[in-house]
């Protein structure tokens, strides 16, 4: 079941949450809507679900080429997982999951035995069979999340929509659950859209990522595309750490102090201001000068995951962050206050009309 959103706009009073947004999610895809808070991602998800109506006369929502803009949330047959789960507090886990089946009109409602079977299958799928008789208040955050997911899946939704599904969980449970969500998606093959403000989560889980900013989609593509080839400074900045080098365009190159970067397709006139964006892992540290390199002093070294993060202070200008593989760091034997040289392996230059 594919989802298509065409030219949707949505305002809340004077605040524009979505401005002429279009998006296509292919059948069986897992797509992340990624953006800072207030970027419109949750509003877009709620419009797809039918919980919010787009501005009058603007655009349409299609499921499998069928226009569902006029259908209400119940008619759209979507599974929706709320940020705070919205479990029915007075019902047991079992009753929560069974709810969507029990409220069906008599002629399409499964009989008791079928409901019981379906619910226990789902509880097994989300690995909480043992908790069927508990109430939501008696569950941990991760368990509630699973109940919410099972409840959404019970109605055999055509698409699955998740609003910040792991937002309220601690880091470890979060990582575990998102891998598990990916597996669940691969097993069921249901078209899924989830909202997140966590770039790592989007990069790890999604097939494609729609990066949203200020009521618009800035870029949509695979994790590799958006990470390696960001189309705008915003996307570059939002998807991971970045070093900025401000300078002027000369001869198709960006000159920052004594160093130069190939400007590529940055646009901008000769002599105009531009900014080079450099990922920490594209920063190389050397003991000896090499033509284009920038002299700097090692300020601080921290160990995060497989990389060693080195904060470098150039003679003038902003601090530069480098992420070195551990072997490289050992090889260099870096210590704080060492004088070293920084080389930039690759950079992306944008005309300077953007500020972070």
């Amino acid at each position: 079941m594919s989802i298509e959103v065409r030219n949707i706009s949505k305002s809340f009073g004077a605040f524009q949450a979505l401005a002429d947004v279009s998006l296509r999610v292919e059948s069986g895809e897992l797509v992340a809507l990624l953006g800072p808070s207030g970027s419109g991602k949750t509003t877009l998800l709620r419009i797809i679900a039918g919980l919010e109506t787009p501005d009058h006369g603007s655009g349409s929502v299609l499921f499998h080429q069928e226009d569902v803009t006029a259908h209400n949330a119940g008619q759209r047959q979507v599974g929706f997982v709320f940020q705070h789960y919205a479990l029915f507090r007075h019902m047991t886990v079992f009753e929560n999951v069974a709810f969507g089946l029990r409220v069906r009109p008599r002629n399409v409602r499964p009989d008791r035995a079928t409901i019981r079977q379906r619910v226990s299958d789902l509880l097994r799928l989300v690995q909480i069979e043992a908790l069927a008789e508990r109430y939501p208040a008696q569950l941990s955050g991760g368990q509630r999340q699973r109940v919410a997911l099972a409840r959404a899946m019970a109605v055999e939704p055509r698409v699955l929509l998740l609003d910040e599904p792991f937002g309220a969980l601690d880091a470890k449970v979060r990582r575990e659950l998102r891998r598990w969500l990916r597996r669940l998606h691969d097993e069921t093959g249901i078209t899924t859209v989830f909202v997140t403000h966590d770039q790592e989560e989007a990069l790890e889980v999604a097939d494609r990522i729609a990066v949203m900013n200020k009521a618009r989609i800035e870029q949509i593509g695979t994790p590799e595309q958006v990470y390696e080839h960001p189309v705008s400074p915003f996307v570059y900045d939002f998807l991971g750490k970045v070093n900025l080098f401000r300078g002027r365009l000369e001869d198709g190159r960006l000159t920052v102090g004594g160093s130069q970067f190939g400007a590529g397709a940055a646009g901008g006139e000769e002599g105009s201001a531009a900014v080079a964006f450099v990922r920490p892992h594209d920063v190389e540290v050397a003991r000896h000068a090499n033509g284009n390199s920038i002299p700097a002093r090692v300020d601080h070294i921290s160990f995060v995951g497989p990389f060693v993060h080195v904060l470098l202070m150039p003679k003038n200008g902003e601090p530069i962050e480098a992420a070195l593989p551990r072997e490289r760091w050992r090889e260099l034997n870096l210590q704080p206050a060492d004088e070293v040289f920084v080389e930039i392996r690759s950079a992306r230059v944008f005309a300077d009309d953007y500020s972070i």
């Binding site: 919980l51 209400n72 929706f80 709320f82 705070h84 029915f88 507090r89 969507g100 409220v103 959404a152």
Partner: protein, 307 residues
């Protein structure tokens, strides 16, 4: 050898009893004499203003012996009064629970203009003196009131009759249910209703299966308060009924027995004891419901704040 965890390693938030200082001194640091003085004055006030009057009702009612007490209650007019009270409360309480739920539902689950105005209007019966409330009904429905001539033409009696008593009771007890439900429903938000809608439930299904079960104890609590007031209301009902024989609720009957029977206070206090018993029963039910209601609120908070 076993490792002993030094106490300072445990977090400051630890609630284990072992972590408390060895002296079971409470946080209050008032001297003992002040504590005793406060307790005595509190008990004194409670006794003087709450327990003594209640006891005096029992003593006065039984002053002429059990037979006089039973005779006073078996009186025809007493039963008329009880019947009228039950009719008024029997109509006002169900109606006001429907109004109250509807008002709380629309005030908490929807956003619209004039919302705060509506919120204020609900409180009008609390703000206005009951006597004035009763008088308003007389002015509207009475013989010389706005609708009086038209009602007389169609031979409908409202004021100085049962319908007036019922109307006044409804008016005076209107806010109880809504007032009780609004904070609860506000705290619960409408995410569960949205979840029900996405799962395909219709409006009524959502109300019966999700909204109502979530507020049932709060609703019951409001109903009890509403009922206690409906049965005990004096001012508004006194004005609209004119206190004519046959148009007296139990509180009006007490008043009229007390002022009318100069030779003995037994009948007045016997009937008053009915209200006193109603009060005690209400308190007992209220405590039970309150206990349940607090659990409901606690569950709301527990689900509202994620870890």
């Amino acid at each position: 050898m076993s490792l002993v965890t030094p106490p300072q390693l445990a977090g400051p938030s630890s609630k284990s009893a072992a972590m408390r200082p060895p002296h079971p001194r409470s946080a209050a640091t008032e001297p003992r004499w002040l504590k005793i003085l406060l307790i005595i004055s509190m008990v004194g006030v409670l006794g003087l203003f709450l327990i003594l009057p209640l006891a005096s009702v029992a003593v006065e009612a039984l002053a002429g012996g059990v037979k006089a007490y039973v005779d006073a209650l078996a009186n025809h007019e007493t039963w008329e009064a009880v019947k009228l009270t039950l009719i008024a409360a029997g109509i006002a309480v169900p109606l006001n629970s429907v109004f109250g739920v509807a008002a709380a539902w629309c005030l908490t689950k929807f956003e619209f203009r004039w919302k705060s105005l509506l919120m204020t209007l609900i409180d009008v019966p609390f703000a206005v003196s009951p006597v004035i409330s009763g008088l308003v009904f007389v002015l509207v429905f009475g013989a010389r009131g706005w609708l009086g001539p038209w009602l007389a033409e169609h031979n409908i009696r409202i004021v100085f009759a049962t319908p007036g008593i019922v109307l006044a009771t409804i008016f005076v007890t209107f806010p109880f249910v809504a007032r009780e439900l609004i904070p609860l429903m506000e705290a619960q938000g409408n995410e569960e209703e949205q979840a029900a809608r996405v799962l395909g439930a219709g409006g009524w299904q959502t109300f019966w299966r999700v909204t109502l079960p979530n507020i049932k104890w709060g609703l019951l609590y409001g109903l009890i308060l509403c009922n206690a007031r409906a049965m005990g209301e004096f001012g508004a009902v006194a004005v609209v009924s004119g206190m004519y024989p046959g148009q007296r609720t139990v509180p009006l009957e007490v008043e009229s027995l007390y002022t009318g029977h100069l030779e003995s206070t037994v009948p007045a206090f016997a009937v008053a004891s009915l209200l006193a018993i109603l009060g005690v029963v209400t308190l007992i039910i209220k405590s039970i419901v309150e206990w349940k209601y607090r659990q409901e609120l606690a569950a709301t908070r527990k689900q509202g704040t994620e870890e």
